[in-house]
């Protein structure tokens, strides 16, 4: 799945820029996600989402202090869905995340 590899790279670049506080490429990313959406790909960033063991759209590694509210502290790969003709979604990549307790 070459598109999945490309989407992962785009997401990675966006994260790296975000970590440095750089916003100059925001429009470009909006456009990229717009085109991806037209191709049927829907990307979800689960950063800061509360962790539930019922969430099978992520592969989580639980780490560190596990008391308190567990949530996603780092996203290594985003969740990617593909729209199937008929309007439904299918999960094609699980998000790879690290979970910690806060």
């Amino acid at each position: 799945m070459e598109m999945v590899a490309i989407i992962n790279q785009v997401f990675d670049i966006e994260q790296k820029l975000g970590a440095k506080g750089e916003t100059f490429a925001e429009r470009n990313f909006t456009r990229i996600y717009h085109e991806l959406d037209a191709m049927g790909y829907y990307i979800v960033d689960p950063s800061n989402r509360a962790y539930h063991e019922t969430d099978t759209d992520i592969e989580a590694t639980l780490s560190g202090n596990l008391s308190g509210q567990l949530k996603v502290t780092r996203v290594l790969k985003p969740i990617i869905y593909q729209k199937v003709p008929g309007g439904e979604m299918a999960l094609i990549q699980k998000g790879i995340v690290i979970i910690e307790g806060k």
Partner: protein, 833 residues
């Protein structure tokens, strides 16, 4: 005669299931998470039973209730203890295996009575029977066992269509996540047999992964950071170092995969908590230093196996690879080196056993199943017995699904989301249950509720629970008509593209990405127009009410805007239908904002005259056609409109420049009415024409289908699945757009057909030299001829294009459709497409 058709690989680390159908095997995907491989891990927590990836995640939070590698204990009396709240209960390896098998059987829809399950060659009778027991416990009526190395050989023999003429000996090399097994197989035309086998239940790929981090990655990081005690801290797994360990595992795995494809790879380490941000190169050699010792252990087993059976490598026809660890090139290379036999990895080593089990199942007839009376009368719950409540539309990312069963009931439930991203696992309940479900943002989420009785038999299945997030603003106003933008056609006319559809709920916003179809030079009179209208998509622009009009002219811009430049147009409409347009041109970073409110609508006189001119041109054509066809009544109707437009034009021209008068609104209204009439008269006929064209284009594709590449077939399917939508739209421009797309697909398909280029070349070849511009035309003719004789169509194609380019302009035939593409037909009115 029915066959079993279903095969399961019940592995120590991972399991999977495959189906045999019509001569092929399909490895089934888990509906939850869509993976083919299911980790053989089961966890128990707060009454919830989870199998697979999510169970494995709980190693840290719930370690004592997470169970894996129970295959090593099956057939023994070594049981496990599950601690739940204050009680402990005993659970056997058979029970745990049954949960895994049951989870796999969930991937099937119906065929759940007979199955083939694989077992290691080393399993004795007790272990084999225990495996069968697990199968029965999982709900299968008939369980047939198959040895794993045999399954692997079957996969290779079938997938590669290997013909076994005389007897051969194969060696199976199975290096999985947690275990290593090797087997010597005897194979002839009729049978497959395990002669002998050896292995180690505690040697696997995971050992290589850990060694890679410990002996290659961490030392390198120690060197770079100067932190000599780095590994010691990680080994203690305390605090942030524990998180670092997991992070290293993740990147280590990615690099390992990369090194299977390339000789070197860059390892990027970005871990803020330890202030480590670095990258360094790792080579395959570095990885091999940790692979080699593990590999040598396996080599010892192979050599022992062979010598104990008086067999040498020269007797081995083929070594087949099973297990993910065999992806590592070093292992393949070493095996090739010491054996000089064929080392076969043509079947995916991670699913080879599943595939083989399914092939075996496809050839194995089912035992006659006796349907017991109890089966027939298994009590099921009907829709009305279960009351479900949930919010169908919401803006929260989590919603509650609650359900209640009428009478006294004790059993289990499972709620999952159809895309595979949410699953509760099996949960016990009595009479009622509820669960918070996570939603995909801004999408329709479809959930499935299944209920099982106390014996874990499924008695209820409802997959119609729909919860939509963020898609509806329940308290909004409806848009009474389409809002469209006017865009250029390729032929000097314009058309309307829908931005917001009629009956959408306000407020609405959308970003359009368009390009300039002409250039605007600073200080010139060039301009492009952005015109937003309210009316029906697909109708004549001039027949509709203009609600937003923006001109970008040479006089107002700061730098030249060249044709082909991108432009972003953000259109917002609020609840009271106020229009707000924001234009952004990335090339010059110019931003222009305008607001439009119905009350202060502006009418542009130039636009009125332009629209009338467009209509008059169209009318002239129509009248000529109708007269030719002797449709005099129709002709008369057109002439009436023509006359009224002509009068209107005179009035408009008199008022031109007099922008303050209220007359212009009246003129605009009149113009719209007349153009609306004209549009109705012509539209039905035009729509009919483009619909016919679509049919012809489809027929064309189907007749040439055998030359289409999978990509082109996909494009064709993308167009035809939307057929219903645009054919019923009555929008000739929309249909025309589809036709253009389909036409370009057809052209590409024709190009795949070598005959096509030969025909074109020959027609070019026989055109007189005088019709060509000067150049080495003769040479090209000669080359073309040669290529045709050699049947080298790849090289013929560029010759054709070059020759066509060398024709003098006036001789470029416009009848040949694909030549039309080579020409650049450019007419721009609005300046946008």
């Amino acid at each position: 005669m029915e066959h079993i058709n279903i095969g399961i690989d019940l592995g120590t680390t991972n399991s999977g299931i495959g189906r045999y159908e019509n001569g092929k095997v399909q490895v089934l995907k888990n509906p939850v998470g869509l993976k083919e491989i299911l980790p053989s891990v089961v966890s128990f927590r707060k009454g919830r039973i989870i199998v697979g990836d999510k169970a494995r995640e709980q190693y840290l939070t719930n370690a004592e209730n997470v169970f894996s590698a129970f295959k090593r204990r099956i057939g023994t009396s070594e049981n496990y203890w599950v601690k739940q709240e204050n009680e402990s209960s005993e659970i056997t390896p058979v029970d745990l295996s049954a949960y895994v098998l049951k989870e796999l059987s969930n991937y099937l829809h119906n065929e759940k009575d007979s199955v083939v399950i694989t077992i290691p060659a080393s399993f004795d009778t007790i272990q084999s029977n225990a495996t069968k027991q697990a199968g029965y416990q999982a709900g299968f009526k008939e369980v047939v066992l198959l040895q794993e190395p045999i399954a692997a050989c079957l996969a290779y023999a079938n997938v590669s269509h290997i013909n076994i003429e005389k007897e051969q000996k194969w060696l199976v090399y199975d290096f999985g996540g947690g275990t290593f097994d090797t087997a010597l197989i005897y194979i002839n035309q009729r049978e497959l047999k395990v002669i002998d086998n050896k292995g180690n239940n505690f040697l696997g790929g995971v050992d290589i992964d850990h060694a890679f981090i410990r002996e290659v990655i961490v030392p390198k990081l120690s060197e770079i950071t100067g932190n000599v005690e780095l590994w010691d801290k990680i080994a203690l797994k305390q605090g942030v170092y524990e998180k670092f360990w997991h992070y290293l595992n993740y990147i280590g795995e990615e690099v390992k995969k990369q090194l299977s494809l390339t000789q070197t790879a860059w390892l990027e380490v970005d871990f803020a908590e330890l202030h480590i941000m670095t990258e360094f190169e790792i080579s395959r050699e570095d990885l091999n230093t940790v692979v080699r010792p593990k590999y040598l252990e396996t080599e010892k087993f192979i050599l022992e196996l062979l010598s104990e059976n008086d067999v040498t490598f020269s007797d081995i026809e083929r070594i087949i690879l099973v297990g993910g660890t065999t992806y590592i090139p070093f292992i393949k290379d070493e095996l090739k080196r010491i054996s000089q036999s064929i080392v076969d990895d043509t079947v995916d080593p991670t699913t080879a056993v599943i595939v083989g089990a399914a092939y075996y199942a496809g050839a194995h007839p089912k035992a006659v199943t006796v349907k017991t009376v109890a089966d027939e009368q298994a009590p099921k719950l009907h829709r009305e017995d279960v009351k479900i409540s949930y919010e169908p539309y919401t803006n929260d990312i989590e919603e509650l699904i609650a359900f209640k069963i009428n009478d006294q009931f004790k059993g289990l439930y499972r709620i999952s989301r159809n895309d595979g991203g949410f699953d509760t696992g099996l949960i016990g309940f009595s009479e009622s249950g509820s669960e918070f479900v996570t939603l995909i943002p801004k999408a329709k989420n479809i959930f499935r509720l299944r209920i099982y009785d106390a014996e874990e038999k499924e008695i209820y299945d409802n997959a119609d629970i729909n919860i939509s997030h963020g898609l509806y603003n329940v308290s909004g106003q409806l848009l009474p008509a389409d809002i469209c933008i006017e865009l250029d056609n390729n032929d000097d006319t314009t058309y309307l593209e829908v931005v917001f559809k009629r009956n959408s709920i306000l407020p609405l916003k959308k970003t359009l990405y368009k390009t300039f179809t002409k250039s605007i030079i600073v200080n010139s009179d060039d301009k492009i127009v952005i015109n937003l209208v309210e009316g029906k998509g697909g109708t004549m622009p001039g027949a509709n009410l203009s609600i937003g009009y923006i001109e970008l002219s040479g006089k107002t811009i700061h730098s030249d805007l060249i044709q082909g430049t991108d432009i972003e147009i953000k259109v917002n409409m609020d609840e009271s239908r106020g229009l707000y347009v924001m234009i952004y041109i990335p090339a010059t970073e110019e931003e222009i904002e305008r607001s439009f409110h119905i009350a202060s609508r502006d009418v542009n006189c130039e636009k009125i005259l332009y629209d009338i001119t467009q209509a008059e041109a169209l009318l002239a054509k129509e009248i000529a056609i109708s007269n030719k066809e002797e449709a005099y009544e129709v002709s008369a109707m057109f002439s009436n409109i023509e006359q009224e437009l002509s009068d209107l034009r005179k009035t408009a021209e008199e008022l031109f420049g007099d922008n303050l008068t209220v007359e212009k609104y009246r003129i605009d209204e009149r113009k719209r009415k007349l153009l609306g009439e004209l549009d109705s008269l012509t539209r039905a006929r035009d729509v009919y024409a483009v619909l016919n064209e679509y049919k012809e284009l489809k027929t064309d594709f189907i007749s040439q289908e055998k030359y289409a590449t999978p990509e082109l077939i996909n494009k064709y399917k993308l167009i035809t699945t939307r057929e219903n939508e645009f054919l019923k739209s009555n929008d000739k421009h929309l249909i025309k757009k589809m036709n253009d797309e389909l036409r370009s697909v057809n052209i590409k398909v024709h190009e795949q057909n070598p005959e096509f280029f030969v025909r074109v070349f020959l027609s070019l070849r026989f055109m007189p030299l005088t019709q060509y511009k000067s150049g080495n035309v003769e040479e090209l003719f000669q080359m073309g001829n040669n290529f045709i004789m050699e049947k080298n169509y790849e090289q013929l194609r560029p010759i054709v294009y070059v020759l066509y380019g060398m024709l003098k302009e006036e001789f470029k035939s416009r009848r040949e459709e694909h030549f039309q593409q080579l020409q650049n037909v450019k007419f721009s009115k609005m300046g946008l497409k």
